[in-house]
Amino acid sequence: MLSEGVENFIEDPNFIFPELNLSQIKPSYLEDFLFSMSLIRAAEIKIAKAKKNGLIKGPVHLGVGQEAIAVGVSKSLRDTDRIFGAHRSHSHILGVDKDLRKLFAEVLGRKTGFSAGMGGSMHLASKSKGFMGSVPIVTGTVPLAVGAGLASKLQKSSDIAISYLGDGATEEGVFHESLNFARVSNIPVLFVVENNLFSSHMHMSLRQPLNTINRFAKAHKIKAKLLDGNDVIEIYKTSSEFIKNMRSKPEPYLIEAITYRWFGHVDWRDDIDVGVARSKKDLLNWKKRDPIKRLRDAMINKKIWTNEKQLNLDVKVKNLVEENWETAMKDDFPDRNSLLDNVYKDD
């Protein structure tokens, strides 16, 4: 936990992280984390290339560098939980549903996609896995996640709701309304704030008096933790503890995970954020804090992992990405006569 001196850690690009603490985590869990993060990263890099090459029409918001958060949280979720994402949600949906063909088909606008080709990268859902939707209106899904938690409480199901949001979303009024309502009504919702320090091209220091946002949780008497978002073990441990508590006693929690995205706000460039140049120095420093490399290095140090196993994993991930991409590229587009389908459910 980074509760002490976290501001220094954010400001100082030379801050060296300690090695991940793997104690008390099952090796099978560690391998799963490594695989899931690697798969999500490879899928997003594939999407970045395809966007650059003009194969994808719609905007894509890539979360490369942020994989540890969704992977760490998803480990404690079950299919009947209710998860809501935002514009940068490839990792959130793949965290619970690793069907790469569906993700690729969706960003390509094909009818086999997660949203039957009606959504594209910014509108993803997988109902059977509890992923109830991600949309690009900033903070749009935060109150919906609160309602999903309220539903769960009324249904006495012990399912919980997850609201993934970014630091920019904490600047919308409805975020504060949602925290307050969730607290006074004791709603089982976990707010997972991925603080990657940027809202589009604007750094936190230009938008808020502090670089962290967990003070908003304290204002609403919501238990919160500030975490190193590139440490999958910390994310897993904290979210699993919070989620366990929420299942037995419904109430809201908040995690603030400090991280960084390797690409610009939207699409494939790493040097530009919506037309504004990014700091090459910061990016290089953050790449040293790569959540995948840190886990892999710690596992190798602890003799849980070997270079040979890593090679096998790399091949497996590469094949999965290529095979699913090829399949998705051959998939059909939605029928032209389906334009007006599903405007209303009861037609």
């Binding site: 509108h123 599903n342 037609d347």
Partner: protein, 327 residues
């Protein structure tokens, strides 16, 4: 026979839904207080518990969003806005989220939420305590807009709205709360089958209206009938999706069309009704140009002197018809 008031009919609709559907719950401001919602929700919190009848903080946006989120997860929530003007804070949830949830995800998910919004005006309440914005919402594909005018519809269309798998904005009007009628036993009606209803037969002019305006139209038609002008009155009931069939048939018969709307003229429901009809009828069908009576183009005034000029009444309607229509 016992007569029921419009407001009691709404209460009876709530009672039926809460009694028969465990997935129904209600949230919004003032639900534990008759000051906000009149007797339309009287004692529901005592009968069904404060877990299911949730009086909320002043957070229209979060509460509407929460109702939508709960609806996506198997519940049938009703979120109540005791005055439509305050609902403006919830526009993102309604227009960007609820209206599009089914479409965006290819029909995989849907948001069967009911957003009850009360029109509450007059009494010098002024510009921010008076608006009737039904036309706005009727513009949006994916939302159904319901505006009951009769006592029977106040109850039955609330039930239809809540049971509908789509997001519905149900708009009731405090000026109708004391209207009474004898109610038929409850029958669940699919909202999809609800079309504009002919409340009075006539052969000289078709008058189309909704909500409180329909009451004015009926009163005006009674007078018109006495002087030999048979007015056929249609109550829209469902503003979106708008089904023009019955009205079209009527206009082909009467050859005169008047729309009365309690909202403003520009891009309003009256524009939609007239356009939809005119584009479907042969040129020269109409004996008089189609006309509409709406609010003057200003925010609601506060002074009682201005209010008298601002709001519609039956005398204004009769005068208008005499001035613009030749029979």
């Amino acid at each position: 026979m016992i007569k029921t008031s419009y407001s009691e009919a709404i209460l009876s609709g709530f009672d039926y839904l809460l009694q028969n559907y465990p997935e129904v719950f209600v949230l919004g401001q003032g639900l534990w207080s008759p000051w906000y919602v009149g007797n339309t929700m009287k004692n529901l919190d005592k009968k069904y518990g404060k877990e299911r009848i949730i009086d909320t903080p002043v957070s229209e946006s979060a509460c509407t969003g929460a109702a939508i989120g709960a609806s996506i997860c198997g519940m049938k929530p009703i979120v109540v806005h005791p005055r439509m003007d305050f609902m403006m804070y919830a526009m993102d949830s309604i227009v960007n989220q609820a209206a599009k949830w089914s479409y965006m995800f290819g029909g995989q998910l849907n948001a069967p939420v009911t957003i009850r919004s009360i029109i509450n005006r007059g009494g010098s309440q002024g510009a921010q305590h008076s608006q009737a914005l039904h036309s706005w919402f009727a513009h949006i594909p994916g939302i159904r807009v319901v505006m009951p005018s009769t006592v029977q519809d106040a109850r039955d269309l609330l039930i239809s709205s809540v049971l509908c798998p789509d997001p519905v904005i149900y708009i009731d009007d405090k000026w109708l709360y004391n209207e009474t009628d004898i109610l038929e036993p409850i029958k669940e009606i699919s909202l999809n089958s609800v079309t504009p209803q002919c409340l009075k037969k006539g052969d000289k002019i078709t008058i189309v209206s909704s909500g409180f305006s329909t009451l004015l139209a009926l009163k005006a038609s009674t007078f018109l009938n006495r002087v030999g002008i048979g007015a056929e009155v249609f109550d829209l009931r469902v503003l979106n999706p708008f089904n023009s069939k019955n009205i079209l048939d009527s206009v082909l018969k009467t050859k005169r069309l008047l729309v009365i709307d309690s909202g403003w003229k520009a891009c309003g429901m009256s524009s939609e009704v007239i356009t939809s009809i005119v584009e479907q009828i042969p040129t020269n069908t109409l004996i008089n140009p189609p006309r509409r009576i709406t609010l003057p183009n200003s925010p609601a005034p506060s002074s009682e002197v201005h209010e008298k000029d601002y709001y519609l009444n039956e005398e204004k309607i009769i005068k208008f018809i005499n001035a613009y229509y030749v029979f």
